[in-house]
């Protein structure tokens, strides 16, 4: 359940920016990009955020949406390249186990939806 720590980390990233926004600003949706190598369970992060969001008045109504990214897998035997939602160890085209992984380490806020557009300060 490291998602609670990740949710707290998200608040640590957001707090200085939130403090600089107008009084009436409220955050609606926060889209988090998460790669397979970060082992984030979307439901667990969404649930953890429901606790942590109460630490700042501007996020009390906010919800997290997880945008899962992929690992780019390359087969060294046949050259086939594909996107996988989790680490895989057999080439989907030729069956070789000689693979390379790229990416999949992402974990960051991709987009923030501000509810009160009139007070949007960014």
């Amino acid at each position: 359940m490291h998602e609670l720590s990740i949710a707290k980390g998200m608040m640590a990233n957001l707090r200085p920016w939130l403090d600089e926004q107008g009084e009436d600003v409220r955050i609606g949706r926060i889209v988090v990009k998460a790669g397979p190598f970060r082992a984030v369970v979307p439901e667990a992060l969404i649930g953890a955020w429901e606790v942590v969001r109460m630490e700042h008045p501007k996020t009390e109504e906010s919800v997290v949406e997880v945008d899962s990214s992929f690992i780019e897998v390359k087969c060294r035997a046949c050259g086939h390249v594909w996107n996988a939602s989790r680490a895989t160890f057999v080439c989907v085209k030729c069956g070789s186990g000689e693979l390379e992984f790229g990416g999949g380490n992402e974990l960051f806020i991709e987009d923030i939806e501000i509810i009160n557009e009139d007070d949007k300060a960014r």
Partner: protein
């Protein structure tokens, strides 16, 4: 000011150092695109700076519960205690059992009881380093994380090297089942090799999959109980720790 090491509260460290140069002020940082563990990573970097000032080198051991982390520490300390001043930080959900085992070898050991948390973070290690420093000076510090093959993967503690153990009774498919912890590791130790005759553990399979995840992964095969393979492990530590 941090009470444990006097080097500034690591949770708020950017406000404590002298600003003799201009740089973007953290308060205006755009949260979009920042790693969600940026705060932990900043404290981890601070731990590294703290270790350099101490003149110490830190190795982080992580694995499932029961894979032999503490036994490996005991065997390692036994071989290296005359050469290096060693300290240990022991993470566990409950009990100081592992720290007590280390203290019985007359080695200073700080216990971090997480009370339910499934991993250590840089902040808890920062405090433990501060307390450890009260016990003397160190060349080599080990951190043993909470036994867990999932949650510790993401958290940089400020270590110089991260070592993941897989014991042979656990099964050779651990790298396939738990890729993230191998993605962030520098070394893999296949432990309890004295049990290989009694279990179906294909070392080549485990290594192949672990190195698919992290090609540069350094490998050790050893038994802390029989001593088989320990010399390679000890030689590697001797080669990386500045002395």
């Amino acid at each position: 000011m941090c009470l444990t090491c006097g080097c500034g509260n690591p949770e708020d460290h950017e406000h404590e150092h002298n600003h003799e140069h201009d740089h973007p002020h953290d308060h205006s940082a755009d949260p979009i695109g920042q790693d969600l563990l940026a705060a932990n990573n900043k404290i981890a970097q601070h731990n590294r700076e703290h270790l350099r000032k101490m003149g110490a080198f830190m190795i982080h051991l992580t694995s499932s519960p029961g894979s032999g982390k503490t036994a490996l520490l005991e065997a390692t300390i036994d071989k290296l205690k005359e050469r290096f001043r060693i300290g240990v930080i022991e993470g566990d959900v409950a009990t100081e059992n592992d720290a007590v085992r280390i203290r019985k070898m007359n080695i200073p050991s700080q216990s971090i009881m997480t009370d339910g948390a499934c991993h250590l973070d840089a902040h808890s290690v920062h405090h433990a380093l501060g307390h450890l420093a009260e016990d003397g000076e160190f060349d080599l510090i080990f951190v043993e994380n909470v036994g867990n093959l999932v949650c510790p993967a993401d958290f940089d503690l400020g270590e110089d090297y991260r070592v993941v153990l897989v014991s042979v009774p656990e099964g050779d498919d651990k790298p396939e089942k738990y890729p993230p912890i191998f993605r962030r590791a520098d070394c893999m130790v296949v432990s309890k090799t004295d049990l290989l005759p009694y279990v179906d553990f294909d070392v080549d399979r485990a290594v192949k999959h672990a190195r698919t995840i992290t090609p540069r992964l350094r490998l050790f095969k050893l038994s802390s109980k029989s001593g088989e393979g320990l010399d390679d492990w000890i030689s590697w530590i001797e080669s990386i720790v500045p002395k």
